[in-house]
């Protein structure tokens, strides 16, 4: 009986079930859980984003697996879920960021951009003939006034702001790790360390070549991708604590 009811209401995104749920949006969240996790940590010195690129084969070029994306000079995005859906939202965010520069000759604020993206996502929960985005984003950056910000987008189109968050598979465990270990006073390097440590919670072992880390710091207002030799010391430290 339950199943039959659900069958009737889970086909269109724009149809509520009798108990007020949007099944397609909930299914989109399930799609995100199937993706590997990404982590974002906000510190006073900037924001760190980290993602693990799980490779299906040693023959695949690791750089072709994109989980962290630069949106503008001062904003980057980590994704979890459908990569192709993430690409669409990242392109949308890039265009919105440039639109802000054209319109006001100013870099877009992180909150404004996050809300532009979530408003766009929301439209895909209220229209017929479309499906919601099967992806969550962690949008990290530095506002024009120098404030570091970190937002999460969800398939419903709701924006959330975080001090630190994990998106994607195994989220509860990773979020628990962040809750236990986040310290507001930590520096950006500490933020990178915590992001990697958290990511390691859901992995058999991180490799500096396959893990991706991007930072946006308040000094330069610039997105920077860390090189493997900058990531390796953090991973060595992790192994040290494990043993």
């Amino acid at each position: 009986m339950q199943d039959q009811n659900q069958q009737a209401y889970d086909r269109g995104t724009s149809i509520f079930s009798p108990d007020g749920r949007l099944y397609q949006v909930e299914y989109a969240r399930e799609a995100i859980k199937r993706g590997t996790a990404s982590v974002g940590v906000r510190t006073g010195e900037g924001v760190a984003l980290a993602a693990d690129r799980q490779t299906r084969s040693p023959l695949i070029e690791e750089d072709s697996i994109e989980k962290l994306h630069r949106v503008d000079d001062h904003i980057a995005v980590a994704s979890a879920g459908h990569v192709a859906d993430a690409r669409q939202l990242v392109e949308f965010a890039r265009k919105q960021a440039q639109r802000n520069r054209l319109r006001y000759d100013e870099p877009v604020g992180v909150e404004s951009l996050a809300k532009e993206v979530t408003d766009y996502i929301q439209q895909y929960t209220q229209s017929g003939g479309v499906r919601p985005f099967g992806v969550a984003l962690a949008i990290g950056g530095v506002d024009p006034d120098g404030t570091p910000r970190l937002f999460e987008t969800d398939p419903s189109g709701t924006p959330y702001e975080w001090k630190a968050t994990a998106i994607g598979g195994n989220r509860e465990t990773l979020q628990g790790h962040l809750e236990d270990n986040y310290r507001p006073e930590m520096d950006l390097d500490g933020g990178v360390g915590l992001a990697l440590e958290t990511l390691a919670e859901s992995s058999d072992g991180l490799d500096a070549e396959t893990v991706e880390v991007t930072t946006v710091d308040v000094e330069s207002h610039r997105v920077r991708s860390l090189e493997p030799d900058e990531i390796a010391p953090h991973l060595d430290e992790l192994e040290g604590t494990d043993e």
Partner: protein
């Protein structure tokens, strides 16, 4: 045209950076460029903006004319508040300038409620330039006067969308007379009260000799506290304040 469309409305999801968000270019009468020049109220005008460390002084005359030969109105308010700490002067076609002011005011309000803080004056000037260039507000040449965290600003905005910052600027048909008054008198260190008097004197000089300017003065002072606008039947009274 972007690849992103709103699935509900089918409209472009990345909206035109050069157009107003509310009341687009399409809704304005595109044929107004072809209107009979002599039937369009113009301000002729002298509008002056002088920047100081305390704020910006703005002075304008109050005359509207038809074809520059008939005074069609003697009490036009040619400076309006468009932002908590910015004002815009009304120069050129009255219809174009009024519409421009209303549009910028609503854009500024929208920005403020969304962002939780007012637009910077540089952003406001950029937006004004974009609208002047791409919008339906033909034949306008206003001055934007504003104060923000960066300090006091005066911009002139030309009909093609050119945006130029300066310490002081003048637009309108009495421009050369007003500039003649200000040149040599302006001083970076001058007080807001001194700048206010100089701006009024400049409008007064233009009112004496320019047929498109006259009928007293409207004076605005813009500081980080806000915008204050006063009207005077006689420029001499305005200077005496």
């Amino acid at each position: 045209m972007s690849n992103f469309t709103d699935p509900l409305t089918g409209e472009d999801a990345v909206s035109d950076p050069y157009a107003p968000e509310v009341g687009g270019i399409e809704t304005a009468d595109a044929g107004q460029q072809g209107n009979d020049e002599n039937a369009v109220n113009k301000t002729g005008t002298t509008t002056v903006g002088i920047s100081t460390q305390e704020g910006v002084a703005v002075a304008t005359d109050r005359r509207a004319s038809l074809g520059g030969r008939f005074v069609s109105n003697k009490s036009v308010q040619k400076v309006e508040q468009i932002h908590p700490t910015a004002a815009l002067t009304l120069v050129g076609s009255v219809g174009g300038a009024q519409s421009f002011i209303r549009t910028l005011r609503s854009e500024s309000d929208l920005y403020e409620v969304r962002e939780g803080e007012p637009m910077s004056i540089h952003a406001l000037a950029t937006l004004a330039g974009n609208f002047a260039r791409g919008g339906p507000f033909f034949a306008i040449n206003p001055i934007l006067a504003g104060v923000d965290e960066e300090g006091s600003h005066v911009y002139s905005i030309d009909p093609a969308g050119g945006v130029m910052a300066d310490d002081y600027t003048v637009t309108g048909s009495g421009m050369q007379l007003a500039y003649g008054t200000i040149e040599g008198q302006y001083d970076e260190e001058m007080s807001l009260a001194e700048a206010r008097e100089l701006a009024v004197r400049a409008v007064e000089a233009a009112s004496e000799r320019d047929t498109g300017s006259g009928n007293g003065a409207t004076v605005a002072t813009v500081t980080d506290e806000g915008v204050e606008i006063e009207t005077f039947e006689d420029t001499a009274d305005a200077a005496a304040e």
